[in-house]
Symmetry: C2
Subunit: 166 residues, 2 copies
């Protein structure tokens, strides 16, 4: 599929295709951000995954909006948690993509690219400090931009979060 | 906090508290469902996690909407994938909860309960069959209700999806 407007999007690479409709022509559910993630990372300098972020030795902070602070009751320092966040700088219109290190394009759902119909991401991190009054969680590391909106926090449960070996 | 309307919600348990505002008074982002998950489970008979679902030996199917089928290109049978889905039967107003097996209430973000401000869930599953024409993925198991809306599919990456041991 060739697209006459392709040159308007310099980040579009050969083999990449856009949805031929606006996925938000139908809105099925609505999200409320519950806080923000404060990190050392801006666009262009963000580690490529949470393991790489951990290797930098730089921690991060999760800051809840006041109305949601009570929801942290029962969390503990040292615990593993899953953070669900919204990749607010991502594109939502690409259905195939060709990352720089790939020779051919693949479907968005066969890639970990931030650009997706619903740009939700997940990180398994460790709680390093906890202020239950103010609603601030220190975490060991994360690979998202400073100011990334937070959607949810769950205790991690490795026994069910990980696929068993065949 | 006592609540005069508590008796109107029989599922509310002692120690559970509701948000004192509607979290959707401010809508921060919008979701588009990309398909549905077909499972053997109705409310009241659903396994409590994906490990238990796997133990039943019953598989499930992910059925994409036609517009999103191309996004599966590159997925393979046998591969591990993460499914992000929307728990459409969940409540969004509880900020503390007391599950049946807990003696005291805890914050929603310290629990794996389906009832949460943004009821997004995650399952790590294995692809058992794949129809890239129709957009149907067979999976080994999942613990969600039949008809659950699908938000996203990503290849699993155990090296980054799992928190390293201390």
């Amino acid at each position: 599929m060739t697209d006459p407007t392709e040159t308007a999007f310099p980040e579009q690479r050969e083999g990449e295709e856009r949805l031929c409709f606006d996925p938000l022509e139908r809105v099925d559910a609505q999200l409320r951000f519950i806080g923000r993630i404060e990190t050392p990372w801006q666009r262009g300098e963000c580690p490529k995954n949470v393991t790489r972020a951990r290797e930098t030795g730089q921690g991060a902070r999760v800051v809840l909006e006041p109305g949601f602070v009570q929801g942290l009751t029962g969390l503990e320092v040292g615990q593993g948690i899953l953070l669900f966040y919204w990749m607010h700088q991502a594109r939502r219109d690409l259905i195939t993509q060709r990352p720089r290190h790939h020779e051919t394009a693949r479907g968005t759902f066969a890639l970990r690219s931030p650009n997706r119909v619903n740009p939700i991401s997940l990180a398994a991190v460790r709680v390093t400090s906890l202020d239950l009054e103010v609603g601030v969680i220190g975490i060991d590391a994360i690979d998202c931009f400073d100011g990334t909106p937070l959607l949810d926090i769950k205790p991690s449960a490795p026994a069910v979060d990980v696929l068993p070996e065949l």
